[in-house]
Symmetry: C2
Subunit: 361 residues, 2 copies
């Protein structure tokens, strides 16, 4: 049976070089070596250095390898919030970070929007005493992007709060000026095309200082994933626990491939593929944009309302070997979601668009 | 270059069938499917069912897939302890659980022993008001085993406390009557021969009830890895986050292989290999037992004092393609550690023993 092609918004298609890197990893016995060995350290360093180059992460920002973006939500709460946080909330994932904070006993403000848009007048709404402002660059559940200029506007208006950006399904395809935020994070099974099981956490020293303030106040910041411990270990390219070294190796190799291709090329292609997909949604009589405002439409996850039950679309494309996603949560039956990640070539997206245009639903 | 054979106490050699399962996983696109799909659910169920059969885990005990044994320490603290815990402490790993508890603000009693032995009179020492008693079945740092009968003795004397058993580098080679403990856990890169990145947490309903008591008292038990949430999701073979599905698949396949081989055979071979290795330590003039009491010597991780710097042993064996471990922590230069896990065949251990016997150090 020929392989299916996954256009699901995560997990998604593996990066096109992944299989050969995995075979090389078996040859090099990457999964058998000690996670604190010099060899493993070289993979941690390579992955970290490559990410820094690829995404232009400032030198004084730390890069840590954790188990998932969900874990990173908890580590942000544990290390960087004492009482108050604010969450720009416009879909399942941006909401969930707030729900996590509430479960950890934080007074977590919600600054919400209707699904398919982003909050209005958020600068006026965010509480002045907030310690951390969370927002999502690319809301995978609704296909909404949060424009970067608006993030920088938050920075200007809230110089004392920490800003934490969820870059899941955005990085590295979407650019961000990291110097204007304090923390950002992503998981590897989206745009990086890796197997799930690794989250990458980027923090600056303001986050570390906040963790130290908590500690001085006698508050717990946890154990092995406490920021001071992460900083100490990462400085020597060491993990804080028996990390998924195989995935760190694969991330090092995929980011090297991306650097060779060039981040500008990846981002230009992302723009081109997004334009193709958005144009298709505009033209197709069976589809309609969920995100009304064109400038809020995600470039990596396209969400369209369907006239028929979304399962008919999923089924029709599945017969061609293309796997797309249904709508998220309550939109399950009424929407389809299509990922356009760096592994999806222009030609592949063109083929997908042609295939969808020929479907009469 | 021929592949090296890893006898390190974790990560260690991959299970001998692992590579073919990984190739099959690529064919079946296991790393691309959604973690909440029916297909992924079937892997969660298969891994869970196989573990239950293999290790004779009672029907009413839950099995959860987390990211590491370190994470499970934190989840035990978060869900199952309010104020007081007790830790039988006889090596780096049993100590570390206690250190985690202290960092989480728990009054964590240490019941300690000299390295190379286990605590004496622990029943008299453990505080009567303790909520949870932690102990380690196989102390990977020192090669000490904690005899099962002594665990059952703790059960008899502390019927109200929760007992949590660290089974890292022991399960499934070492048997345990799960009905006499409340929780047990392990990571997959030891006896199961998988790539790192997955921890398995086994809990009974007393643990879940304790989490609910904490919640009723208004205390936080965290978010996605809170026991009630883990129970709810596992009941439908669903993960609580984007788990490392590839590793869950591999665990399902390796445990199926182990079931086919038979757990009795695996355990008989473990005994035979341990006898060979221990006998070699007794006979070799350059080696000596670190664990004085024969009944406390681990069957899966053999630790020997060396007369020369341990790096000479590591180097001599490395030249033959055999990778062994140095001593842990302060014993780094004075000891070697050799793993004998289910993937290490009798013939392989015989060959290793012959090779070591021929080395004059």
């Amino acid at each position: 049976m020929p392989k299916k092609i996954f256009f699901t918004p995560g997990p998604s298609a593996l990066y096109f070089t992944l299989e050969s890197h995995l075979k090389q990893a078996l040859k090099e016995q990457v999964a058998e070596i000690n996670h604190r060995s010099v060899q493993a350290g070289s993979y941690f360093k390579e992955a970290s250095d490559n990410l820094r180059s690829l995404m232009n992460i400032p030198k004084d920002y730390h890069i840590f390898f954790l188990s998932s973006a969900n874990e990173i939500w908890e580590r942000l709460i544990q290390n960087c919030i004492i009482n108050h946080s604010s969450h720009l909330s416009y879909g399942a994932f941006s909401q969930r970070f707030r729900e996590f904070a509430i479960k950890w006993g934080i007074d977590a403000q919600e600054v919400s929007a209707e699904p398919g848009s982003i909050p209005k007048d958020f600068v006026d709404q965010i509480h002045l005493d907030t310690e951390l402002i969370g927002l999502t660059l690319n809301e995978t559940s609704t296909g909404v992007t949060f424009p970067q200029e608006k993030i920088y506007e938050i920075r200007d208006n809230f110089p004392n709060a920490l800003i934490a950006v969820d870059g899941v399904s955005a990085f590295p395809a979407i650019d961000l000026d990291f110097s204007k935020v304090d923390s950002a994070y992503f998981s590897v099974q989206k745009c990086f095309g890796l197997p799930a099981g690794l989250g990458v956490w980027i923090v600056n020293n303001r986050c570390v200082a906040k963790a130290e303030v908590k500690l001085e106040k006698g508050l717990s910041i946890g154990a092995y994933q406490a920021l001071p411990n992460l900083v100490k270990n990462a400085a020597n390219s060491q993990p804080t626990y028996t990390t998924n070294v195989l995935n760190v190796y694969l991330l090092a190799k995929v980011t090297a491939d991306m650097l060779e291709k060039g981040i500008d090329v990846i981002r230009r292609e992302t723009n081109y593929k997004a334009a193709l997909l958005q144009h298709m949604v505009t033209k197709h009589t069976g589809l309609d944009h969920f995100v009304q405002s064109p400038e809020l439409r995600s470039k990596t996850v396209v969400v369209a309302n369907t006239k028929v039950d979304s399962s008919q679309w999923v089924e029709a494309l599945s017969q061609k070997g293309f796997i797309i996603g249904k709508g998220y949560g309550s939109f399950r039956k009424d929407q389809i979601r299509i990922a356009s990640f760096p592994t999806h070539s222009k030609e592949l997206i063109e083929l997908l668009v042609d295939t969808i245009q020929a479907i009469n639903l």
